[in-house]
C-alpha cells in the first residue's frame, strides 16, 4: 500500500467516493467527492499527538467493536496515508462545539475544522472495480442465538483477536467475561450453501481460513482444543489440502462432519448441537467460544455503484463478467474491469491474479487509438428517426444519445457502449433503429428462404 502511494504514476485518493460516472471506454468522466478529513494532508506529519489527547472513545469498526478508537483516528496501524481523520458524528467539536484539543496540541497546525468536501472531475480511459465484499448478517439464524450470545462471534472477530496489535493484544478471550477461551468450536457454512435462509453458493474462502485459524489458536493457546463442524472441505489450491491436514495432524483440530442445528447457553458455557454423519452419531460440544464462518456477500452499496456505472450484476449483487470462462475480469460494459470479490468470493492468490489480469486488460485499451468491437450493434437510420427517444429510455447501457442533424434532433448509438441487445430495435416505432445483421428485412428474408418456389443455387 505504501509503495502505491509513493509511485509517480499513481494518484491515491483516500477517504473519497465516486459520485458519478458518464461516458464510455476511453472517455469516462468521473466525479469524485474527496470527503473532508478535517486534517490538512500537506501539513500532517503523522506524529499521533492528536489521537493521544482526544478524549472521545468510540467502538472501533475495524476491530469489529471488540475495542475502541478515538473520534480522531487512523483506522489501523498500517493505514495509508498515515494521516488521521475526524469522525464528525462523534467529535465533540462538531457535535457540541466543545473540546478542540487536537488542534491545540498539533505541532504542525494541521487540524482544520472548516475543511470542506472537495469535488474532483477526472477524465479516465478505464475503470477497474476492486470494491471487495461484506459478511452476511448471520443474526437471522435465531437457532444460533440471533446475536444474543456474546461469545458467538464471526471469523472476522477472531482475526482481530488473533492480531497481536489488535483490540485484545493477541489474546483469545470470551467477549462476555474476558476469560481465556480453551474449548473453541468453529461452525462452517453459516449463511453459505443455504437455499432457505442464506446464500445458495459456497463462499470459497471459509474452509481455508478456518483451518488457518485453528492452527493459530493452537499456537496462541497450547492447551486449547478446536473443533470444526463442516459439511465438505473445499481445499482446491496449491498446498491447500496439505494445509488442512496440518491443522488436523499437527494442531490437533478435530473435524466433525455435520451442520450445526442449534447453539444455546448453559451456565457460562455454550452448547453446540451438531452431529457427525460419518460415525452416524448425534453430538454436542461444550464451548467457551463459538466462531461462525459467515457467508461472503456483496457490499450493501454494490448495486447502487453498478447502476451508477451501468454495469450488470447477478441476483446476489456480484458484478457480472463478460464471459464466465473466457473473460473473467471484464465487466459486460466495455472499459470497466472487475477484480477480487466484487465479482465473486475469492481468496488472496486469485484476487492478486485477477487484479494483474484486469490491469493488463486496462492497458490494452490504451495500447491503441482505435477500438475493435463486435459488429452486431445497433445503428440509427437518422432519416427515419422521429426523435421520440423511446430507444434512449429502454437502453440499459445508456448507449443512445441525441444529436442535431440538419436542424432535427435525432438519436445516435454510441458504438463503443452498445452491446447489441436489441431493446431499442424492438421499441422503435418507425423502424429507424436496427441491430446490424438483424434488421426486419434480413430476418424476413431468412424466414422466407425455405419456402421460395425457385431453386436457389447453393455453391
Amino acid at each position: 500500500m505504501t509503495e502505491s502511494s509513493q509511485d509517480d504514476n499513481i494518484e491515491l485518493l483516500t477517504y473519497s467516493e465516486v459520485e458519478n460516472v458518464e461516458g464510455f471506454i476511453g472517455n469516462f468522466d468521473v466525479t469524485i467527492r474527496k470527503k473532508a478529513r478535517s486534517v490538512d494532508m500537506s501539513k500532517c506529519t503523522g506524529c499521533g499527538e492528536c489521537i493521544q489527547k482526544c478524549p472521545t472513545k468510540v467502538l472501533s469498526e475495524f476491530d469489529m467493536e471488540l475495542g475502541k478508537r478515538k473520534a480522531i483516528y487512523i483506522p489501523f496501524a498500517q493505514a495509508v496515508p498515515n494521516v488521521p481523520v475526524i469522525d464528525r458524528d462523534h467529535c465533540l467539536k462538531f457535535t457540541k462545539n466543545k473540546c478542540g484539543v487536537c488542534q491545540k496540541v498539533c505541532p504542525a497546525d494541521a487540524i482544520d475544522y472548516e475543511q470542506k468536501d472537495e469535488l474532483i472531475e477526472l477524465k479516465v480511459g478505464a475503470i477497474i472495480l476492486a470494491t471487495g465484499f461484506s459478511l452476511f448478517d448471520w443474526t437471522v439464524y435465531e437457532e444460533y442465538g440471533g446475536g444474543r450470545y456474546k461469545d458467538v462471534i464471526t471469523g472476522l472477530h477472531l482475526e482481530r483477536m488473533l492480531d497481536t496489535s489488535g483490540p485484545t493484544g493477541g489474546k483469545l478471550i470470551r467477549p462476555s467475561d474476558g476469560r481465556e477461551a480453551k474449548q473453541i468450536v468453529f461452525v462452517q457454512c453459516v449463511g453459505s450453501r443455504d437455499e432457505a435462509k442464506g446464500m445458495p453458493y459456497c463462499s470459497r474462502i471459509c474452509c481455508m481460513y478456518t483451518a488457518k485459524q485453528t492452527i493459530l489458536v493452537k499456537d496462541h493457546i497450547p492447551d486449547s482444543q478446536s473443533y470444526v463442524f463442516y459439511i465438505d472441505i473445499r481445499a482446491a489450491g496449491k498446498n491447500y489440502e496439505e494445509f488442512v491436514k496440518r491443522a488436523q495432524r499437527d494442531s490437533g483440530t478435530v473435524y466433525i462432519r455435520g451442520r450445526v442445528s442449534k447453539i444455546y447457553d448453559r451456565g457460562d458455557k455454550l452448547i453446540v448441537q451438531g452431529s457427525d454423519t460419518l460415525s452416524g452419531e448425534r453430538v454436542e460440544v461444550e464451548a467457551d467460544l463459538v466462531v461462525l464462518a459467515t457467508a461472503v456477500v456483496p457490499n450493501p452499496d454494490a448495486i447502487q455503484l453498478a447502476q451508477m456505472l451501468n454495469i450488470p450484476y447477478d441476483q446476489y449483487g456480484f458484478y457480472t463478467e463478460a464471459h464466465p470462462k473466457l473473460q473473467p475480469v471484464e465487466s459486460v460494459t466495455q472499459g470497466i474491469f472487475l477484480t477480487g470479490s466484487c465479482q465473486f468470493p475469492k481468496d488472496i492468490p486469485d484476487s492478486v491474479a485477477t487484479t494483474g489480469a484486469a490491469a493488463v486488460r486496462a492497458c490494452a485499451v490504451f495500447a491503441h487509438d482505435e477500438l475493435t468491437i463486435e459488429p452486431k450493434i445497433a445503428w440509427v437510420d437518422q432519416e427515419k428517426c422521429s426523435g421520440c427517444f423511446n430507444c434512449m429510455e429502454v437502453c440499459p447501457f445508456d448507449a443512445i444519445i441525441s444529436e442535431e442533424v440538419n436542424g432535427k434532433l435525432v438519436a445516435r448509438v454510441r458504438e463503443s457502449i452498445c452491446h447489441g441487445c436489441g431493446n431499442c430495435a424492438a421499441t422503435c416505432r418507425t423502424k429507424a433503429v436496427n441491430v446490424k445483421g438483424f434488421s426486419d428485412e434480413q430476418i424476413y428474408a431468412q424466414i422466407e428462404a425455405p419456402f421460395l418456389e425457385e431453386e436457389v443455387e447453393v455453391a
Binding site: E143, C189, R193, D194, E195, A196, K197, G198, I231, R257, G258, R259, V260, S261, K262, Q273, G274, S275, D276, T277, G280, E281, R282
Partner: protein, 190 residues
C-alpha cells in the same frame, strides 16, 4: 456377497417418496442439520439424514425397517431448519404409511401398536378414551404395571375419566375408517 446398487433404477425409491410426500430427496446434500437438531436422534437406530441417504441410494428395506421412522415425534425441528427446505418430518410420515402398506415389520412394534390402539379408540367412540388407550397399550405390550404408580395420583386429581367420552353419531367417523384408502392397516377394518 454385497448387494449390487444398480440392479434396478437407482431413482426408484426416491421417485416413490416424491409422489407420496411431495419431497424431492435429491435436493439433500446430507449436511446433517436435521440430525443435529433432532431431540430423539440419540435413541434412533439411524440418524434422520441416514434415512434420507437410504432413500437416495434406493435402500428401501433399510429405510422402512428402521426404528427411526417410528421414534420421530414429528416436532418438525428438522423441517424448519433444513437449508434445502425439505420436509423431513413429512418424509418420515410417508415412510410409516409405506411400511404398513408393504407389511414390513415395524422398527418399533410398540409405537406402531400404540397408533393402532389409538385409532381403534377413535373408531369405536369417535374420540380417544385415554384411560382405555393406556390400559390396552400396556396389555398389548406386556407391560401391565407400567406407570401404575401414576394411576392413583391421576385418578385422585380427576384427570382420568371413566366412562369414555363418545360422539353421539359415530357413522361419519366409521365411514372414514372404512373408505379411507391406501396405507390403512388391516387390523382396523370392521
Amino acid at each position: 456377497m454385497p448387494e449390487i446398487l444398480n440392479r434396478e433404477d437407482i431413482h426408484t425409491f426416491k421417485d416413490l417418496v416424491l409422489s407420496l410426500s411431495g419431497q424431492d430427496v435429491s435436493r439433500c446434500i446430507q449436511c446433517g442439520k436435521c440430525s443435529s437438531g433432532c431431540p430423539i436422534a440419540y435413541e434412533m437406530e439411524h440418524l434422520p439424514n441416514q434415512i434420507l441417504r437410504f432413500i437416495q441410494l434406493n435402500m428401501q428395506h433399510k429405510a422402512l425397517s428402521s426404528n427411526t421412522i417410528w421414534l420421530c415425534a414429528v416436532c418438525e425441528t428438522c423441517t424448519v431448519r433444513c437449508p434445502e427446505s425439505i420436509d423431513i418430518a413429512g418424509i418420515m410420515d410417508a415412510l410409516r404409511k409405506l411400511c404398513r402398506e408393504r407389511k414390513v415389520k415395524p422398527g418399533d412394534p410398540k409405537i406402531a401398536k400404540f397408533n393402532e390402539i389409538f385409532l381403534d379408540s377413535i373408531k369405536k367412540n369417535g374420540r380417544v378414551y385415554e384411560l382405555g388407550l393406556v390400559m390396552k397399550y400396556n396389555m398389548a405390550t406386556a407391560q401391565p404395571f407400567k406407570d401404575a404408580t401414576l394411576g392413583p395420583a391421576m385418578f385422585g386429581k380427576g384427570k382420568l375419566r371413566i366412562p369414555p367420552d363418545k360422539v353421539k353419531d359415530p357413522s361419519p367417523v366409521r365411514a372414514s375408517f372404512n373408505k379411507a384408502k391406501t396405507f390403512i392397516v388391516s387390523v382396523l377394518k370392521d
